[in-house]
């Protein structure tokens, strides 16, 4: 006699217990602390903060620990937590011109006020496995310079003075909030940028790369890439002025793109923009390229049918939490639907067999 499979609850409990054990790994090896992850896996922490849309290194590190290092899973934990948080208000716009830069490079000028500052970059490392690190990761203190006191001007402002770069008028409107209202198309640029900054790094990178290889090529130069800390200010209604509530690290990328002019715009340089939480320069550069590709309509360019130009395609598929959830849901049971497909295929095959035997008889 067949007994229908029961025990879903017990199976789930056991799976969770096993998962916890796997996460811990060999108990002979000391357990990772959240502080260790925060300090020594900081780029993973940055990615989780950026795509989780929540600036909190401790929580991001905790999420990474809980997710066994699966960053998309960690981002998911952060997003699910974030959505439960109350909103006290919005900050004043960040002034990235006031950034205390750890890194600041321009590919378009050999030098500029503020200088080129490499900062802590992998760029010129030789990618050779450092076996010494396996035994001993202690490092000696690096050389230090005096911190720059004056603000570091944006490279773009120099082009702006000459009128060579397409102007970016300041918008007065409060930008829409992707997490509080449904995405509706066509999306304005502020909304697109919001989606891009929290979009999957791999997806945005792939889209950006496709523009470099000719799918809506935009001839981008990195006018400036800067990473550093900026103060976050918030206006407190009771006080009537803004107060600094904290400091965050962000990566900002501005690209300058060749543009020969269109029916509506004179020949000039145009911009792409990327701004991402933390030290996340691959993402910020990718974001700037995709942003530029998505601006074809406002700049009067042709739609060449490239994926990176299609805002519906890019915005609907950039979110890795949506994507991974829907992708992985196909492992849930679908046997009711599969059963109805089975019935249909059997019926169609019966009819096809009957039709061919009937025509066979007719031929005889």
């Amino acid at each position: 006699m067949y007994v229908a499979v029961k025990g879903g609850e017990r199976a789930i409990d056991n799976a969770h217990a096993w998962l916890a054990e796997e996460r811990r790994g060999d108990r002979a090896v000391p357990e990772l602390t959240v502080a260790q992850i925060r300090e020594q896996m900081s780029l993973a922490v940055n990615r989780v903060m950026a795509e989780g849309s929540l600036y909190d290194p401790d929580l991001a590190a905790l999420a990474i620990k809980q997710a066994r290092g699966d960053l998309i899973e960690a981002i998911f934990l952060i997003r699910a937590y974030r959505t439960t948080l109350p909103r006290f208000g919005g900050s004043a716009p960040l002034d990235t011109g006031a950034m205390a830069c750890d890194r600041r490079v321009s590919a378009t000028f050999k030098d500029a006020p503020g200088g080129q500052v490499l900062g802590p970059t992998f760029d010129y490392t030789h990618r050779l496995l450092d076996f010494k690190l396996a035994a001993d990761g202690e490092v000696s203190a690096p050389a230090e310079a005096e911190a720059r006191q004056e603000a570091t001007p944006h490279i773009m402002s120099f082009l702006d003075r000459e009128g060579l770069i397409q102007p970016e008028p300041e918008g007065a409107d409060t930008p829409p909030d992707l997490t509080r209202s449904p995405l509706e198309l066509p999306a304005e640029r502020a909304l697109r940028l919001q989606a891009l900054t929290r979009g999957d790094e791999g997806f945005i990178l792939g889209m950006a790369y496709s523009t470099q290889r000719g799918y809506a090529r935009s001839h981008a130069f990195v006018a400036e890439l800067r990473i550093g800390t900026v103060p976050v200010e918030m206006e407190i209604p009771e006080l009537g002025f803004s107060v600094e509530i904290g400091e965050i690290t962000v990566t900002e990328c501005e690209t300058v793109n060749q543009f020969r002019g269109s029916r509506t715009e004179p020949p000039q340089f145009t911009r792409g923009y990327g701004l991402v939480f933390g030290m996340t320069e691959r993402k910020a550069i990718s974001m700037a390229l995709v942003d530029r590709a998505l601006r074809w309509k406002e700049l009067g360019e042709d739609d060449v049918g490239a994926p990176a130009q299609d805002e519906e395609f890019v915005l609907y598929h950039s979110d890795n939490i949506q994507a991974t959830g829907f992708l992985e849901h196909i492992k849930l049971p679908h046997y009711v639907d599969f059963q109805s497909e089975l019935e249909l295929i059997r019926k169609l095959r019966r009819e096809a067999a009957a039709a061919s035997s009937a025509s066979g008889e007719a031929a005889e």
């Binding site: 699910a80 439960t84 997490t179 519906e312 959830g325 829907f326 059963q339 109805s340 019935e343 019926k347």
Partner: protein
């Protein structure tokens, strides 16, 4: 779980979802955009249904959750537990005892009453999506009631296969206006879409809610010479002997031996309690069926 609000979502979010639900009920079959929240379960795993359930649940409710018609499938267990923890509502497996039923892929066999709400989990709310990938275009098509593409698709099915080759998520027209995706229920369930209960459809990832108010006319698309046909496996349930319920097919041995049994586990258990028995339920009485 005191750190979260009743049924997890905060009251502002619930209000936003309830507004979407009311609008959906006012325009049957129309997909209302809503600001779907990240839930603590993955998109594609019922987040739309969970948000709708969270917005309609009150402490006095009794909740039933089914997936593939069954209460004991893992994701149904997981969602039921979620509401037990966050809302503390009573739960049941009995269709008749539930005031809110969240479902994935099935409509219960027992007729639902006016005091019940059926909440569907919806993966892709747009019935025209696989004919036209752009949301901008499909919204336009709905606005203009331009459903020619769908009829052409169904016609092409018939000319190619001799029958409409859609067996689940079979499109319907609601109250003579909107073409709607009934979620991936087998087309066997389509006739049940006209019912006394309120039916709410939640698509979390796609940020859409739609509804069928009680006793609304729901017509499965077809042609006069190829009328809609609700089909199921041509067998009786091996456990309870029912011939009127949707059946799952199981492979029971290495020779590929098959067995059919009710997909609605509560319906099947109820029949067995009432003394009905199918062929496999009593293997020693071979004539039992």
């Amino acid at each position: 779980m005191n750190e979260y609000n009743f049924a997890y979502l905060d009251e502002q979010t619930k209000r936003m979802i309830r507004r979407a639900i009311l609008k959906a009920l006012a325009i049957p079959g129309y997909q209302v955009p809503f600001a779907s929240r990240e839930m603590p379960m993955p998109y594609g795993w019922g987040t739309g249904g969970v948000q709708v359930s969270a917005a309609v649940l009150v402490p006095e409710d009794t909740l039933k959750v089914i997936d593939q018609g069954a209460d004991d499938t893992t994701n149904a267990v997981s969602i039921r537990r979620f509401f037990e923890r966050t809302a503390g509502v009573a739960v049941t497996e009995a269709t008749a005892e539930a005031s809110v039923i969240q479902t994935r892929h099935r409509i219960p066999e027992a007729p639902l009453r006016a005091d019940q709400i059926l909440v569907y989990q919806v993966p892709i709310p747009e019935p025209l999506r696989f004919l036209e990938p752009s949301e901008v275009e499909t919204r336009k098509m709905h606005a203009l009631e331009d459903y020619g593409l769908m009829h052409v698709k169904l016609y092409e099915d018939i000319s190619r296969h001799g029958a409409i080759s859609t067996s689940y998520a079979y499109p319907v027209k609601v109250e003579g206006r909107y073409v709607m995706d009934p979620s991936p229920i087998p087309k066997f369930d389509n006739p049940k879409l006209e019912m006394a209960a309120i039916q709410l459809f939640g698509a979390g990832r796609e940020q859409r809610i739609y509804a069928i108010p009680p006793h609304t006319r729901v017509v499965s698309l077809d042609f006069e010479d190829h009328p809609f046909e609700a089909s199921k496996a041509d067998h009786a349930c091996g456990l309870c002997g029912a011939t009127d319920s949707y059946l799952d097919e199981l492979i029971v041995d290495d020779e590929g031996g098959r067995m059919f049994l009710c997909s609605d586990t509560d319906y099947c258990a109820g029949r067995r309690r009432a003394g009905h028995a199918g062929a496999e339920a009593a293997p020693f009485e071979e004539d039992a069926a």
